[in-house]
Amino acid sequence: MSASKRAAGDTACPSGRGPIWTRVRRKPLEAHVAGTPALEVDGLTVHYGGRLALEGIHFELEEGAELGVVGPNGAGKSTLLKAIAGIAAPSAGEVRVYGHVPSGHICIAYLPQRSEVDWRFPLSVEDVVMMGRSARLGPLRRPGPRDRSLVRGTLDLVELAPLARRSIGELSGGEQQRMFIARALAQEADLVLLDEPLAGLDLRSQEGILTLLSALPQRGITLLVALHDLGIAADRFGKVLLLKKSQLGFGPPAEVFRAEALKEAYGASLRMVRAEEGLFVVSDAPCDKETCDGTP
């Protein structure tokens, strides 16, 4: 398949193709250090707008891992993803992606919440996916045949090829999310961070996105997905991280989702039932604020 991200044979993030003036950057991009984990988060503390948003986060992910990040609103899920993407600076601790600070990498894709995107922008699906190529192209260069075939291949993979020329404003929620996944693939990202990719989607679209995501680890892609649905996190993710500013648990869902930890994270809004098969969690609120009004 033309979309195969290993097709070009470049396992390292940076690309140094093209004449020297197209390679001007503020900082040189880092190559992957062999044998290092895809992601190491070590004592990460982040202040956002003067307030403490995250404190003492510590975990490690191997290449191809799938992590569900859960926690109540304001728990710092988005901040964690942004810090890992290298666009929110830690006030203490550090993040290493394949052995280096994230701001030296272009192989980290951050997929925004759909509510943060201006869908009136006059762009086609293809235009948005091609944006994933812009860093590899460098300034002043236009997309070449390889870029175009990569974009076509990723659109095929997410089953959006027939809509390639459609305006982004005409897409359904699920199609919008699949377009962003295609963009991350076109970017040739090794670490993909998704902020609430299922928010506001109907069950069928949610299922489609989850199926699509579950195919990524076999391409060597490491996934971090912020979620509000504990059930999906438990069923679909090998590892989960339970957050409420600090880290309340990290590991397989069965180990992390224990009554005490969940109570500490969600407080009174959760009711728990112990049954034969294990722990059932019942929420008082039919939906949390994020899913109700669509604003973060």
Binding site: K27, H105, D118, P122, L123, V128, M131, S134, A135
Partner: protein, 286 residues
């Protein structure tokens, strides 16, 4: 007098022909840059920039004793670039919302401009000239300068199309692609500033905003891709200049106002008649 004669007659006067050339160049440059103003929701910023240029215009006017237009031009350009970067700095440092920062800079600079011009006797006449422009007073030298700077703006928008698009649509993507986001944002502000100054003589400070947003918005109603929006916007810009000058000539209306009114007319037509998005279309499909 036949129609061809009616169309050719105004441009027998050299000042009308120069005015037409100026309006045409401005009609191309403003909507191309204005596409980003519209898509990024920077209309208020564009208006503020146009008004903030006034003190620069005044200083240029006073230091050259009312003579050199060239000096007015460079002072205005310097002020515009300073103001556009200043607004960003005020917003960041003061932790203010950006529109508040824009409002403060706009009003303060505009007042400074009026204060400076008011030191000259008979200032009302000069003020009106700067506020509303005078495309028919454009000299050959002005045309050359407009062509050079306008060409530079177009070349940069074209060369950095890919980067400006990413930075405008998704700043977080741009950051994760490690593009120098602040550099591109700053450059875009400077390009808008240059477009404003280049167009100053055509429509003046008060109506400048119309050239930035109206033709680009008209195009936005009709097409769905950014490059098409730029090209069609430029088409509406040029057409507005041409038709506006005819209206000005035959109806005896101020040229800047005539150009803006024609541009607004195109927008209103598009608003009603645009396929799929227009009001008429929606009524019919309901």
């Amino acid at each position: 007098m036949g129609l061809p004669e009616l169309l050719v007659a105004p441009f027998r006067y050299p000042f009308m022909a120069r005015g037409l050339l100026a309006a045409t160049m401005v009609g191309v440059v403003c909507p191309v840059v204005g596409t980003y103003v519209v898509l990024r929701g920077m209309a208020f910023f564009g208006d503020a920039l146009a008004h903030a240029v006034l003190p620069g215009v005044a200083v240029g006017f006073l230091t050259s004793h009312g003579g050199g237009r060239r000096s007015v031009f460079w002072w205005a350009l310097g002020t515009a670039i300073l103001a556009s970067l200043g607004i960003g700095a005020v917003a960041r440092r003061g932790r203010l919302r950006e529109d508040t920062a824009i409002g403060i800079v706009l009003a303060g600079m505009f007042a400074l401009g009026i204060a400076l011009i008011s030191t000259v006797r008979g200032y009302a006449v000069d003020l009106v000239h700067f506020l509303f422009g005078n495309v028919l007073g454009v000299s050959g030298g002005d045309l050359l300068l407009t062509a050079l700077l306008g060409g530079l703006v177009l070349a940069l928008v074209l060369a950095l199309y890919k980067e400006f698009l990413v930075v405008s649509f998704d700043a977080i993507l741009a950051a994760t692609l490690r593009l120098p986001v602040r550099l591109y944002n700053g450059l875009l502000l400077i390009l808008i500033a240059v477009a404003v100054v280049v167009s100053l003589q055509t429509v003046g400070v008060a109506l400048m905003l119309a050239l930035l947003v109206t033709p680009a918005s008209t195009a936005y109603l009709l097409v769905r891709r950014v490059p098409a929006m730029m090209v069609l916007g430029a088409g509406f810009g040029v057409l507005s200049g041409l038709v506006g000058l005819y209206v000005s000539y035959y109806a005896g209306i101020a040229s800047g106002a005539a150009i803006v009114l024609v541009a607004t007319g195109f927008f209103v037509i598009a608003l009603f008649a645009a396929p799929r998005r227009g009001l008429l279309w929606r009524r019919r499909s309901n």
